[in-house]
C-alpha cells in the first residue's frame, strides 16, 4: 500500500508536541497521534507543535492514554484492549462528557463510539427525570403535554422501575 507519510523510514521516529489549554506540553510519536483526524490533518500541513485550545490537561492525559494503548492494537491483544476500554469508560458523567467533547473535536472516531455507547448503556435504564438531570435538560412540557407523549408510547414506560440515581 502506498503511503506518502512514511517519514520514519530512517529509524528516527518523528515526534510531535501537543499542547493543552492549560499550557502543558506532551511529546508523542507521530504514529500514535495520527489516530486523531484533526491532528493528522495538521501534521499533513506541516505542524509539529499542536495547540489544543479546547482540551485541558486532565482530559488530554486520558486521550493520550487511549491513543497509546490503541496504537498497540494487534490481532493477539484484542482481549487486553477490551479490558482497557472497559476501565477507560469508568468515571463520572462529567468526566465522560469532557472526553466526548474532546474526542468529537479531535475526531477520534473509535473513542467517540466507545464513549457514546458506554454513556448510552449507563442511561439506558434511567428514569426520564434522571436523564434530564444528568444532561442538564430543562423540561419544556406542561404536565398535560408530557402525559400525552407518555400515553402515546405506554409500552416504553412499562417493565419495572427505572433508575433515579445520577451516577
Amino acid at each position: 500500500m502506498a503511503s506518502s507519510s512514511s517519514s520514519s523510514k530512517t529509524g528516527l521516529k518523528k515526534m510531535l508536541t501537543l499542547k493543552s489549554s492549560d499550557g502543558d506540553e506532551f511529546e508523542l510519536e507521530e504514529s500514535i497521534v495520527i489516530q486523531c483526524q484533526t491532528i493528522k490533518h495538521m501534521v499533513e500541513d506541516g505542524f509539529s507543535l499542536i495547540p489544543l485550545q479546547n482540551v485541558d490537561t486532565k482530559t488530554l492525559t486520558k486521550i493520550i492514554e487511549y491513543m497509546k494503548k490503541h496504537a498497540e492494537k494487534t490481532e493477539s491483544n484484542k482481549e487486553e484492549i477490551k479490558n482497557f476500554n472497559k476501565e477507560f469508560v469508568k468515571g463520572s458523567f462529567d468526566d465522560q462528557f469532557e472526553l466526548v467533547s474532546a474526542a468529537n473535536y479531535l475526531h477520534i472516531n473509535g473513542l467517540m463510539d466507545l464513549l457514546c455507547q458506554s454513556i448510552a448503556d449507563r442511561i439506558n435504564n434511567k428514569s426520564v427525570r434522571a436523564v434530564r438531570e444528568i444532561f442538564n435538560i430543562s423540561n419544556d412540557y406542561t404536565p398535560d403535554e408530557e402525559e400525552k407523549v407518555r400515553d402515546e408510547h405506554k409500552w416504553a414506560h412499562e417493565g419495572g422501575e427505572f433508575d433515579e440515581s445520577l451516577d
Partner: protein, 155 residues
C-alpha cells in the same frame, strides 16, 4: 455529587450522538425528556444514525424484515457462507386486530425501516387494506382504504 453547575449544559450535538446508541425502547421513553427529544427521535438524520449504530452493535446486516402474522422477523445474512438467519424481533404493533379478516398479509420494507403491509387475498372487488407501520417503534397507521374496481351495490 452535583452533576452540573447551572450554566453548564451538554451541547446538543453530543447528546444526539449519545442518544443514537440507545435501544429503541429507551429512546421512546426519553421522548418525555423535552420537546426537542420528542421530535428528534423521528427526525430522518437521527433515524439513519440510529440504524447505523444499531447494526454496529448487533453485527451483520439486516437484509430484510418480514412480518408473519403479527410477529416481525429480521432476516440477516452471514458474511461468509451467505446463509440467512431469521430472528424474531419485537411483536408488531397490533395491526392484526385492526383487520377484520385475519388472513395472510404481504409486506415490503421501505428504505427507512418502515413497512407497508397489505392483504394478500385482495381481489378487485375487495376493499384493500394498506397500512404503514414501524415495528421498532410499534407505531402503525392505516394510510389508505382504497376501493379498487366497483363496490357491489346490492347483495
Amino acid at each position: 455529587m452535583a452533576v452540573h453547575t447551572e450554566e453548564e449544559s451538554i451541547p446538543q450535538d453530543m447528546t444526539i450522538q449519545i442518544f443514537s446508541w440507545l435501544p429503541i425502547k429507551s429512546l421512546m421513553r426519553f421522548k418525555c425528556v423535552s420537546k426537542f427529544y420528542n421530535s428528534l427521535v423521528v427526525e430522518s438524520n437521527f433515524v439513519d444514525l440510529h440504524l447505523f449504530h444499531y447494526f454496529k452493535i448487533n453485527g451483520g446486516d439486516t437484509m430484510l424484515i418480514a412480518c408473519i402474522k403479527d410477529v416481525c422477523y429480521a432476516i440477516e445474512e452471514h458474511d461468509e457462507d451467505g446463509n440467512a438467519t431469521m430472528h424474531q424481533t419485537e411483536n408488531l404493533f397490533k395491526l392484526y386486530n385492526h383487520i377484520n379478516d385475519p388472513v395472510d398479509y404481504n409486506c415490503f420494507e421501505c428504505d427507512n425501516g418502515l413497512f407497508c403491509i397489505w392483504d394478500v387475498k385482495y381481489n378487485e372487488w375487495d376493499v384493500k387494506y394498506i397500512a404503514i407501520c414501524n415495528p421498532t417503534t410499534k407505531e402503525g397507521e392505516f394510510v389508505k382504504l382504497i376501493c379498487v374496481g366497483t363496490l357491489e351495490s346490492s347483495d
